[in-house]
Every structure is written in structure tokens, then in C-alpha cells.
Symmetry: C2
Subunit: 385 residues, 2 copies
């Protein structure tokens, strides 16, 4: 049977991966185009380091975990050469964006560029057996850890008078260190992973509401401001499966159960009871939103929800998890894929119609769709779904 | 008759101004609340310098140009005291935001904070006859002119490898200098106003499409990138009436005609043929939008359009201008006001329903609605509409 896992596998291998292979490789000057319109035609040639690095990771990962296809690793190599040649400033930080030829456009204001670069170097090194890249990933990781308290450096707009800490960094670090733990001493990795995981539930979690906030005061207190009230359900769902992976590695069933409970609570909170789908942003106290895109339905939010639910099914195969999986699965497959032209739409209006028909841009590249499809395929296969 | 001008006047004096008088004044610690929900209740207490300064300007302006009500000038005084006490960093640049008590939260990354502060100080000084504030406006203006080539200073994220210049700055400077011309030598003011006005049509205008771009290369060439293709119809319509004011001052009928023609062209380009209303952002080459809020209908866009059209009617009273005025007037009054609770909604979905029911926030305060209503009232009154 396995009809669900087959559906995810097929979409990954017959639709999404070929789409990026066919349309995104810039054979002339290196790297990847990510601004692809509905049919896959390039509409802008700027190169965003988040997406360059993520595509290297994706093709390296597919080579190791799906099939060692030469074409796949050559695409990854094509991308990492561009990163090596143009990606970093003299201090070793990754730029935010380059022009087509690799001339830096935006300074390294986002430490996530470095996080995705570390993933890319590590996975490419592992997949090719070239230890140089694995070592280099360790260097990038140390650079991230050194910068983590002041990730924006001189580009930081905040005065520091209302110091809030950001959920995104411990979340991505927990995932990164779990992935890269061979590049640092085991004890350090262990300590860092556990610290990040603990911090998410100790500091960002609100016991009263059961919600995880994007920003909290340094001592974990909740702040009554736009940022302090911000809830990003997709981000939490992504974090929950990161933590479930940590729980599985550490045989920590209590952590896994806590993640499942918390994820389901955020699905309940974030689900649009009128039009279906998961909101992009909500206010913990239901105050007016500052972010104008708050009610839109984003591809990655729904993929991360499906990964969370697929992984949850293995541990808690009850009606609640099954029901949510089917609900999110149905909404997602009805609204995001574009069978005629390939790949998935990225941005839907609240009502479910595409807000934009593009397949890639400044923030959407070859990452969440293939990673999500792969994770769901494997998790669903394991439970025979 | 004059039913249109009466409608604008009434909304200004009986709805909008009382709304801000009743709900926005923070009597305890000074300054204004701008985060007001549908009913005018404060939902967030942070203070954004754009909006603090704009409200000072609005009440000072009303005092001078509508009626010398003591209440109005006291509200302006209340606001300027807060600006004086907390507004600036040690280098004299205005912060972006403060907490309720005036502790700076966001550094002076936006030179528009300074532009609105200059307007506020100038108008408050003129309205009260206190020349200290007029002089202070001159100091702020010099500070703006000194920073204009590097407005973000160290906070600039761009590497400078793709230098684009920004339409917003010459536009606001042309308006600011026109307003403040008594604080600088007449020749300098003349030169600056004319340079800004010329630059808009020389550099930002695309002869082929008739569109004005938000960002162009330093030599005025159009750049094929997200920013380079960006069209903001509301911004252009606002600029057109700024320039028409300059044209009127300089007896430059050719400039006025050019502005009317250009404004109408942007209305045609920016009008949503399906749902009505003017889009927030468009791409000059109809490529996919990076900005997720592109299809929303914003209050200020429609008010600036109405000001442009009201002023145009005086110079070109033909069916085309009349038709556009009636179309935009009807859409605006059907969708934005909230007769039950006062003031106007700020953000509508493409379809016309409110995206948020709040009356003020981080970007919407006591400015575009009252300024727009006043401008329309006066312009329509002049033509007997």
C-alpha cells in the first residue's frame, strides 16, 4: 500500500528535483538561479547565499541518502565552487547576496547565511568523502558560535535597551550541531545540543498559553511588544521535529512527547478555521499584527508541519495525530503543487489562491520542498503508510 | 453645493481629528500612542519617531491653517516636548523608535525620522511664533543634507557594489525645502527644490514606459533587479502633487501638466481592474513580486491619489481627471472609513476587506488621513466641488 510515502517520494524524484536540475543551474558563471517563474524561466539573476548554500546541501544530501547519482553531486559541486569563490568576506562571514557574477551586493547581515553554508560544506564533504569541506564546515560553525551574541555586528539596528533573544538561533544551532557533531568534540556538541533544546522549552515557551514565542527577554520573560508577542507556527513546527530528532538520538521519550504535544497545540492555534491552512504569523494575545503578510499560507510552513506530523505518527499513532496529518496533507496537496509546470507555489493568499505564481525567489529555493518531501517519504515509509 | 469638499472637511474635523485627540495622547509620560485598535484602545505603547513627529506637524498645521484652537496647539506642544526630550542621539539624529517612557529602542537607521522631525519643528515654530523651533528645523535640515548620501551610515547593509539611488529622498526633500524655505538662503532653497524636481523626471522616469522607478542607477539608468523594477504607484501620486505645488509656486505650467499626465498614467497602471483600488507595489516588467504585501490596498495610497486628483481638477477639469477622481473617491469612501468607531482602516486585502482592523500602528498614525482630507477639502472647495 504505502500510498502516502509513494506520493511524497514520487513528487520529490519526478517533479521537484528535476525542476531544479533543469532550470536553476547557471552553467555560464556558476551557482544557481533561484528566481524562477511559474514555468521555471529565470526572471532575476541575483544570487542569495541562503539559497545557494541550501541547494548545495540538498543535492549533496540526495546523493548520500537517496541515490549516489553523479548528476546530483556534480550540481552540488557546481554550487560549492561558487560559494568558495564568492561567498565570504575577508572576515570569513557569508554575504547575504551577490549579483549573478558573484560580486557581493548585501553585506553579511544574516548569520543564517553562515548556518546554511556550514550545512552545505559539511554535507558536501560527507557525500564526496572530501574531508577538507567537513573541516571547513567546522571553521564556519566556530565563526557562527563566536558571532552568536552579536550576529549582526555593526549592522545591528537595535540599541540594546530592550534586549530580546531570538528563538531562531538556538533552534537552528540545535539542528546544525546535531548534523555536524563530528566536527567538534563530542562533549561540546552534547552540551550545545542540550542547551539549545532546553532553552527552547525553558525560555521561549509560555506555560500559561503553551505557545513558543519568537523573541523573549534574556531571562525568558515574555515581552509585551510586537516582537515579544509574535508567534510563527511554522517555525515552531519545524523546531519540534528538530527536537524530536534530538530526542530520538538521546532516547528521550519525554522530550519527544513534549514536542508532539506542543506541535499539535501550535497547529490548533495556527490553523485557519475559515479557509484552512496555517497562518504565517499570529499575535500571542490576538492584538493587531504588524506584519502585513501574517494571514498568508506559505509552502515551507505546510511542509514543516507535514514533517512534524509524519515523524509524530511513529510515536503517537492516535486519531489526533492522524487527523491532523490528513487535514494538513489534504490542504497542502490541494493548494501548493503545480502539476502542469512542476514544483510548488510558495505564497498563497489567505483564501488559498496563489499570491504569486513564481517557483523561486529571494527566499524560496531548492530546500524546503525537497527536504520536506524526503522527510515525509522516509517517516511515512517507516510506519507503512 | 460643494458636497465633496464638505464631506472631506466633515470627516477631518468631526471624525479623524477627534479620534486622535481622544485616544492618542499619553498624558502620563508624554508623546503619542499610535498603536490603536479598531475602537481606539491602545494595544502597544512603543513610540515610533516618524509618527510622533508627524502628529506634532498635523496639530500644528491644523492650528495655523484651519483654526487656532488652543487644544490643538497644546497637543502639538505635548508631542514636541517628548521629541525634544527623547528624540535624538548624541549626534543629533532621530531614533527610529523609543519605548513608552522614551528609552531609545531602534537606532537612527531611517533619515525619514529626521525629515518628519524637521517638518514638526518648523510647523510648530511657525504656528506658535516661537522662532527657536524654526531655527531648530534648519539645524535638522542641515543634518539631513549632510547625511543624504549615506543616510544609514554604519547601518547600511548594501556593499555599494550596485549603487542605486532612492526616489524617496529627492521627493521628500523637494517637499521639505518647499515647506522650510525660510530657514535656508532663498537661492539655496531654489536650487535644491529645482534639482529635486528635475531629478525625478530626469533620473527616475522611464521614457519608454512612462513609469517612475523607486530605485535607479546613479546615472538614471534602469536596473533589472527586484529594487530596480519596483513601482510604488501611491508614492508617485504623492510626489506628483508635491511637484504640482512646486509648479504652482514657480508658475511652471509645463511641470504641472507633466505631473498630471504622469499621475494619471500611474493610476491607470496601478489600478486593480478586478477588485478596484490601487495596488501597493508593482513590477515595471510584470515579473513576480518580492514584496508579499504587493496586492494590498493601503489607506495612504488612496489618500495621496485623491489629493493628486483634487489638485489636478483645478488645472485640467476634463472627463479623464473627473472620472478618475470619482472612481478613486468612491472606492476609498466605500472601503476605508469606519463610521462606527472613527478613523480609517489602514490595510485592506486585495479584495477590499480589512486585513487588519487597527487604526494605527508602527507606520500608520495621525498624518496621511488628516493631511489628505485637508488637502482635498481645500482643493475641492477652490473649484466649487
Amino acid at each position: 500500500m504505502n500510498h502516502y510515502s509513494a506520493q511524497y517520494r514520487k513528487a520529490l524524484l519526478e517533479d521537484v528535483v528535476p525542476f531544479w536540475m533543469d532550470h536553476s543551474v547557471d552553467m555560464e558563471v556558476g551557482g544557481f538561479y533561484t528566481c524562477l517563474d511559474q514555468k521555471g524561466h529565470v526572471y532575476d539573476t541575483d544570487k542569495f547565499m541562503w539559497l545557494q548554500a541550501r541547494q548545495v546541501w540538498t543535492f549533496s544530501f540526495l546523493y548520500s541518502y537517496v541515490e549516489p547519482k553523479k548528476d546530483w553531486i556534480e550540481i552540488a559541486r557546481h554550487g560549492i565552487r561558487f560559494l568558495e569563490k564568492h561567498g565570504r568576506d575577508t572576515a570569513g562571514a557569508f554575504y547575504f547576496s551577490l549579483n549573478r557574477e558573484g560580486v557581493p551586493l548585501m553585506k553579511p547581515y544574516s548569520i543564517f547565511s553562515d548556518c546554511f553554508a556550514a550545512m552545505a560544506y559539511f554535507q558536501f564533504g560527507k557525500s564526496t568523502g572530501d574531508d577538507h569541506y567537513v573541516q571547513e564546515a567546522g571553521v564556519i560553525l566556530q565563526n557562527i558560535l563566536r558571532r552568536q551574541d552579536q550576529p549582526k555586528g555593526l549592522l545591528e539596528k537595535s540599541t540594546g535597551n530592550r534586549p530580546l533573544k531570538d528563538f531562531a538561533l538556538p533552534m537552528i544551532l540545535s539542528n546544525l550541531v546535531l548534523m555536524l557533531d563530528s566536527v567538534m568534540p563530542a562533549e561540546d556538541a552534547e552540551e550545545l545540543i542540550n542547551r539549545c533544546a532546553r532553552s527552547i522549552f525553558l525560555d521561549y515557551f509560555d506555560e500559561q498559553t503553551g505557545l513558543i514565542h519568537e523573541y523573549v527577554k534574556l531571562n525568558g520573560e515574555k515581552e509585551d511588544s510586537f516582537n515579544g508577542r509574535l508567534i510563527n507556527p511554522g517555525h515552531i513546527l519545524e523546531a519540534m521535529w528538530f527536537l524530536m530528532d534530538i530526542g530520538e538520538r538521546n532516547n528521550d521519550r519525554a522530550l519527544i512527547d513534549k514536542c508532539i504535544e506542543t506541535g499539535l497545540h501550535h497547529l490548533e492555534f495556527g490553523w485557519d478555521k475559515i479557509h484552512g491552512g496555517i497562518f504565517y504569523f499570529l499575535d500571542a494575545r490576538d492584538k493587531p499584527m504588524e506584519k502585513l503578510e501574517w494571514d498568508q499560507k506559505l509552502w515551507w510552513v505546510h511542509l514543516e508541519a507535514l514533517v512534524f506530523l509524519s515523524k509524530s505518527l511513529k510515536w503517537r499513532h492516535d486519531e489526533s495525530v492522524k487527523g491532523w496529518f490528513e487535514k494538513v496533507h489534504m490542504y497542502t496537496w490541494e493548494h501548493f503543487p503545480d502539476p502542469e509546470n512542476g514544483e510548488w507555489f510558495g505564497y498563497l493568499k489567505r483564501s488559498g489562491e496563489p499570491l504569486s505564481t513564481m517557483k523561486g525567489g529571494k527566499w524560496k529555493g531548492c530546500f524546503h520542498v525537497p527536504r520536506g518531501l524526503h522527510n515525509c517519504w522516509k517517516a511515512l515509509e517507516e510506519i507503512g503508510w
